[in-house]
């Protein structure tokens, strides 16, 4: 295969990726290398410095780029950081020395203030940046992303949940005073990152329905902060690699009709370039499913009304590596820089597809 040149000449912006060997880092590299307005000039790794990107990410074997040490940052327009929690808050000043715009995928800058951060995590090193940072999810926060210079990618489970519930909150069907909101999430193994331990080995992780966060998942903090809802949140690992699916069981105070629900969801997402409503219909795919969006930046949302017990069930499905991390980051960067929102994110996904 003839080599792609990682840096194409007519690209408008240079980009770097910190944590380039990771799962989110690999997806960032794929998206940015195929993006018409970006040219990747650096991907960092401590463990694979000097190696080709393709030695870690086999789909990127045609990319002519080698990892370099993160201690040696090149100057770029936009720096994407995809490291574990805690790294970016330590390095944030160095990042801004190297770049005008920083997009961080960790939890370091997701929460609006230090108090909330301390409640769910363990003390912030650079709290002064918390207010400056904008939450990356365009469906929630598009108006503040234009021109933002510090962007904090949302958590994948939080993203799925927020996309499912936001239309109900916006329409007042759901609010801090309404009843219980149960969010039952099912996720794939890529959510754990590339470094998995014993529980992530193939023999142990195959075929599971495993309650991996029965209670107290930190993504509740984001959901509370941005939707104003206290949710009862439980996450299960299931046998897929990519994908996050949130089923929200909601009990509105008063009567709600299917028309109300369609109204809420259509007005929220009709003009969104990446959102699809999937509720009923015919055939095999009647509700949101992770595999229908796998590999893409799309989010599917749908609902059903359980008249008997006044419940609304909301389904929401994303690819955690795309809409739930790297895709969301690129989407937000597109908005921040004033580019076409869908630039670099056009892939439509596959059918048939197994468990991508």
């Amino acid at each position: 295969m003839s080599d792609d040149d990682a840096s194409s000449n007519d690209a408008t912006y240079t980009a770097g990726v910190i944590g380039g060997t990771g799962f989110a880092g690999g997806e960032l590299l794929r998206l940015l290398a195929g993006h018409p307005e970006f040219s990747v000039v650096q991907a960092t790794s401590r463990s694979a410095a000097n190696k080709t990107v393709g030695s870690i990410h086999p789909n990127l074997r045609s990319l002519d780029l080698r990892f370099t040490e993160p201690s040696d940052l090149e100057s770029v327009d936009v720096l994407f950081a995809a490291t574990p929690h805690g790294v970016s808050m330590e390095q944030i000043d160095a990042y801004f020395e190297a770049a005008d715009t920083v997009v961080d995928l960790s939890a370091d800058f997701r929460l609006p203030n230090a108090e909330l951060y301390d409640e769910w995590y363990e003390g912030h090193d650079a709290p002064e940046y918390l207010e400056r940072a904008e939450y990356a999810l365009p469906e929630l926060n598009r108006e503040n992303l234009a021109g933002a210079d510090l962007i904090a990618g949302g958590g994948c489970n939080a993203t799925a949940t927020i996309l499912g519930l936001k239309p109900l909150v916006d329409e007042g069907i759901l609010g801090p005073e309404t009843g219980e909101v149960v969010v039952d999430v099912k996720v794939g193994s890529s959510e754990g990152g590339a470094g998995g331990g014993a529980a992530s080995s193939h023999p142990e992780r195959s075929g599971v329905v495993r309650p991996y966060a029965p209670i107290s998942h930190r993504h509740e903090a984001e959901i509370g902060a941005y939707l104003g809802l206290d949710v009862s949140f439980t996450v299960h690992a299931v046998d897929m690699v990519r994908g996050a699916s949130a089923t929200c069981h909601v009990f509105p105070d008063g009567p709600v009709s299917k028309g109300d629900l369609w109204g809420a969801y259509r007005s929220a997402y009709e003009d969104e370039p990446f959102m699809r409503l999937v509720s009923g219909g015919s055939g095999v795919y009647r509700y949101p499913e992770p595999k229908a969006v796998a590999g893409t930046n799309a989010g599917e949302v749908g609902f059903e009304l359980d008249a008997s017990n006044k419940r609304v069930v909301v389904f929401s499905a994303i690819d955690n590596m795309m809409k739930g991390s790297a895709g969301q980051a690129v989407h937000a960067a597109n908005i921040a820089l004033g580019l076409e929102e869908t630039a670099g994110l056009e892939f439509q996904g596959l059918h048939p597809v197994g468990s991508p």
């Binding site: 000097n50 190696k51 030695s55 080698r66």
Partner: protein, 56 residues
Amino acid sequence: MTQAECVECGADVDLYDDLEVGEIIDCGTCGAELEVIDVSPPVLDRAPELEEDWGE
């Protein structure tokens, strides 16, 4: 940027200028891990294989 020949597959391997003797890089064509034996002119040899168990 200079080049050297991969001892495994014969392809050219790009070498960054600050490469030092003893560093390990992988060939972009065949993936072989190559050790820098000399720098001027650059010479590569197969890196000693780590007895790495990759799946059994």
